[in-house]
Amino acid sequence: MRIVVCVKHVPDLQSTRGFTAERRVIRSADDGTMNEVDENAVEAALALVAAAGDGEHEIIALTLGPDVAADAVRRALQMGADRGVRITDDALAGADYFGTATALAAAIRRIGDVDVVLTGMAALDGLGAVVPSLLAAALNLPQLTVVQELTYSGGALTARRELDGVTETLRATLPAVVAVTDLANTPRFPKFKDIMAARAKEIEVFGAAELGLADAASTARTEVVRAEPRPPRPEPEIVTDSGAGGRALADYLISNNLI
């Protein structure tokens, strides 16, 4: 089984996040990490390989992004991915959902013979959660998304997802695109020897031309036209409860016409 796991380098949630003058997300090595739910995707890939049993298996971590984005691939290698690939090109900077999905799909086609494409349910920077669907569209594959429970048997994947007040069970034959939530599993913490081993691995680089991609502008369909920091919130009004806290809460709601 050959699995491609798409991983993304995102600014750490705890860091001060923002945009550059070109209205692109600031990404730096110091306060960036692999998108946390992508760890669940890598873990799901490892579990699939285990469930598939004997035979040849390969897990390839794939990312799109500048040099710092290699960190995300490195993390996947530490967790147990066999190979790392990074798509990078100045021409692809600032890719939107379509630019991203088009580039990832082109790399997946080039890698070839892929049985499962795995991703996290959303990137915790943009939170669009649409790239998995766009990847399925671009590759013309069935999709299992927002997956909380994934099993593999008899050559097919079964997924349970709970969303919008509905619980669904879906089955897909391979090849398929799968996006997992953080409830799908518990990502392993790499051991020291795996961290050392991952360090030695070469990360392959694909450019736009090799993938037959022109540039981000030709695939992008949107453009960020404004990005401004918001003024800090005013100081909260704080009441310490000594018996009348509940009434104070009710009064606040009533006097501010909130109910």
């Binding site: 949630l13 001060t16 996040r17 923002g18 945009f19 959902y97 379509f98 915790l124 920077d125 939170l127 959660a129 669907s133 399925a136 569209a137 671009a138 013309n140 594959l141 069935p142 999709q143 909380q148 709970e162 969303l163 919008d164 007040g165 509905v166 619980t167 669904e168 069970t169 879906l170 089955r171 897909a172 391979l174 398929a176 939530t181 953080d182 369909r221 949107t222 960020v224 036209v225 404004r226 990005a227 401004e228 918001r230 919130r233 909260p236 009004e237 704080i238 009441v239 310490t240 409860d241 806290g245 509940g246 104070a248 809460l249 009710a250 009064d251 606040y252 709601l253 909130l258 109910i259």
Partner: protein
């Protein structure tokens, strides 16, 4: 004489056999009217009540996609219907309300129709012919605007972003059937689908859905597993119930109620977080609330810091007292 072409805006309206349209749909119709001529699309037969509401919203034309036996619950199938409707009425904009499934439908529709895609906007306006959507990101710390650079656009609108209003003049809401041939993607099968019971309290009061509620009372680890106080206040306020991932992990409440980056993103008028620390994962999903209230034993909790109003103390005391005060105030108002 030259006339400026009026943009056709297609609004996907979710419709069930027995229920009225939900407020996010009415909000989307309200926004759609400001951007062009509205055509509503349903994937099932609209009921009488829904048609009345569409008429009140000024809709003349209602397309009802006829998908035959194709499973419309599968987003790709629904997207095929939306794309067919886009072609049929030459829509330049498709508007959907933001939900997990609608984002998937939106993505596939955009892919098929060559449209630009904006997700979770809270505003959408015409800026010299270009559509520009607004969105607050990075846990409420940045405001962004994004323009569509293609002729067509698919946009999902966050519930509660604006208030639904009836049109100045009612529409005819005439239903037109649109045959669509679509099939589930090869290899994909929907094995089982269970719609959750809407939670109702002892007196049978049905709570609003979390994603679209105007008021949300959320309880976290600080509840220690007892959601009684949270339910009590929610019922007094007619609010939905939310929670954190930690409470879901503990098995205290279902994942459906989880608010946050890997749960539901909400933007209610009022959010009350009780026994919730306000970790960035949670904060990212509720920061768009207009008023944030925290109830926490710890005055240094991050949620207290980003709140408008906070009560420091035990939620097990404070929430029931607040619920009682609200009920007695209501009763007093009803008597006077």
């Amino acid at each position: 004489m030259t006339e400026t072409a009026v943009r056709t805006v297609l609004v996907l309206v979710e419709n069930t056999a027995d229920a009225a349209l939900r407020s996010p749909a009415l909000e989307a119709l309200t926004l759609a009217r400001t951007l062009g001529e509205v055509v509503a699309l349903t994937l099932t037969e609209p009921n009488r009540r829904a048609l009345d509401q569409l008429a009140e919203a000024g809709v003349d034309r209602v397309l009802q996609a006829d998908l035959g036996d194709a499973p419309r619950e599968i987003p790709v199938v629904a997207a095929a219907a939306v794309a067919a409707a886009v072609e049929h009425v030459r829509a330049a904009l498709v508007l959907l309300t933001s939900s997990f499934v609608n984002k998937e439908i939106a993505a596939h529709t955009a892919w098929r129709t060559g449209a630009g895609l904006l997700i979770d906007v809270t505003s959408l306006a015409d800026d010299g012919g270009r559509l520009v959507g607004g969105k607050r990101v990075f846990a409420g710390t940045w405001d962004t605007e994004c323009a569509i650079t293609t002729d067509r656009a698919v946009v999902t609108l966050r519930p509660n972003a604006l208030a639904a209003e009836p049109a100045a003049a009612p529409g005819a809401a005439v239903v037109e059937r649109l045959p669509v041939s679509a099939a589930a993607p090869a290899g994909l099968e929907l094995l089982d689908r269970v719609v959750h019971e809407v939670s109702a309290d002892a007196s049978g009061v049905v709570r609003p859905a979390l994603a679209e509620a105007a008021i949300v009372v959320a309880g976290g680890r600080g509840t220690a597993g007892d959601f009684g106080p949270v339910e009590d206040l929610a019922d007094a306020l007619g609010a939905a119930i939310g929670t954190t991932r930690d409470a879901v992990d503990e098995g205290w409440i279902g994942h459906d109620a989880q608010v946050g980056q890997t749960g539901v993103t909400i933007a209610p008028r009022v959010y009350i977080g009780a026994g919730i620390s306000g970790a960035p994962h949670h904060h990212g999903g509720m920061q768009a609330a207009r008023t944030i209230i925290a109830v926490n034993t710890d005055s240094e909790a991050p949620l207290v810091e980003i709140s408008d109003f906070a009560v420091i103390g035990d939620l097990h005391e404070i929430l029931p007292a607040a619920a009682a005060a609200i009920r007695s105030r209501r009763d007093a108002a009803a008597l006077s």
